[in-house]
């Protein structure tokens, strides 16, 4: 090509001894085309072989058997736990079986926000077609002794009418808080933020 006289830096290519750019040979190979020069030129043929070798090696590297050491997960999780960001404690007012507030013998009970959130998420997950996402647990200011839950949900497409699913989640959260934490649910705000597709057969 005449452009070659202007210098290779303009084409930013790697010329073979026959004058063709390696880049162009690769491009032809990618597109599965070849011209008369390419068919007979030994330099072009060598370049094509090189690329084929590289492509095979690339596949071998995609199937890289190098595994992270087995203890890396533990190392990471230990470091993550050491970071803190633990949920603070919630001052709770426990209730008895009739729902009446009880003053515990040992004074007020503090439990971790984190632990309550886990119970609430788990309760939502038990509803088929529902996944809990974010979950905020606070003391309900408008309802003394109750916890306020704000949760976002993802629903499976075709799992049923959204408002029915949401009401089922609300009921399960209420009974989980009562049965497993021993505290009453106040306001439970549920927001659907995503839908995931039905799993294949």
């Amino acid at each position: 090509m005449a452009v070659n006289e202007l210098g290779d830096h303009l084409r930013q290519g790697h010329p073979l001894p026959c004058g063709r750019l390696v880049e162009d040979v690769f491009d032809d190979l990618d597109r599965g085309r070849i011209d008369d020069h390419g068919r007979t030129c030994v330099h072009c043929a060598t370049a094509r072989r090189s690329l084929t070798t590289l492509m095979e090696a690339t596949r071998a590297l995609v199937d890289d058997p190098a595994e992270p050491p087995p203890n890396l997960l533990d190392r990471i999780m230990q470091a993550v736990r050491a970071e803190g960001r633990r949920g603070e404690a919630l001052p709770l007012v426990p209730i008895d079986d009739t729902g009446a507030a009880v003053v515990p013998d040992l004074g007020p009970v503090d439990i971790s926000r984190q632990a309550v959130a886990a119970v609430v998420r788990y309760a939502a997950d038990t509803v088929d077609g529902v996944r809990a996402r974010s979950c905020r647990v606070t003391v309900d200011d408008a309802d003394v002794g109750a916890l306020r839950i704000e949760m976002t949900l993802s629903l499976r497409y075709g799992a049923g009418p959204a408002n029915e699913l949401v009401e089922t989640v609300r009921a399960r959260i209420g009974s989980a808080l009562h049965g497993q934490v021993g505290v009453r649910a106040g306001a439970v705000d549920l927001e659907i933020v995503d839908v995931w597709p039905e799993e294949g057969p």
């Binding site: 930013q12 790697h14 073979l16 001894p17 390696v22 880049e23 690769f26 330099h43 060598t46 370049a47 072989r49 090189s50 070798t53 590289l54 090696a57 690339t58 071998a60 590297l61 995609v62 890289d64 058997p65 190098a66 992270p68 050491p69 890396l72 997960l73 190392r75 990471i76 999780m77 470091a79 993550v80 970071e83 960001r85 949920g87 040992l106 009970v109 439990i111 971790s112 926000r113 984190q114 632990a115 959130a117 886990a118 119970v119 998420r121 788990y122 996944r131 809990a132 996402r133 974010s134 979950c135 976002t152 993802s154 989980a176 049965g179 497993q180 934490v181 021993g182 505290v183 995503d194």
Partner: protein
Amino acid sequence: MSGAVPAGLDQAATTGGPGPGAPVLDDATLVARARDGDIRAFEQLVRRYQRRIYQLALRMTASRADAEDITQEVFVTAWRRLPELREDAAVVGWLYRTATNRCLNLLRSRKPVAEMDEATVAADRPADDPQRGAENTARREALVEALGQLPPAQRAVWLLREVHGRSYDEIAELVDTTPDAVRGRLARARVQLAERMTPWQ
């Protein structure tokens, strides 16, 4: 959690993360939960992506020790910075970006003399078919060696595209350039790798 834990709470808290047989949760759900401080959800993300991040770091740095450290740093930083992540489903891209930056920073700070880590590369398990396994191992080793001779930024672009299948747009954003520049770098990397693996002149 204080000593006075209501019955059932502990159990529910520990089953908050999916045990065996539990549904596989999508990234967005895990990120939303991890952001609330759910360590088990975060652990699932680590399990899902630590191998890819480790392999990228290993092939970037050619050092197992560095790859382990970088993988750990990437995930601990992710945990710390989850609240800033806008798009929950974008966590993979974020992990790749952080890992690539860490690798490039590390390589910049290394002495210019290329010292190959002794405990590096290979030690690959043979595949089921020993002959094919040995061929793949040899190809992979040759490629890894050739990769080590590319400039780090070019190596990153090649690995992210050809081995990890990231998009041109994502890579461009990641190394702060344009998709066209990424294509150019990729073409140059291919030529150099192919040349190093099978000299054609």
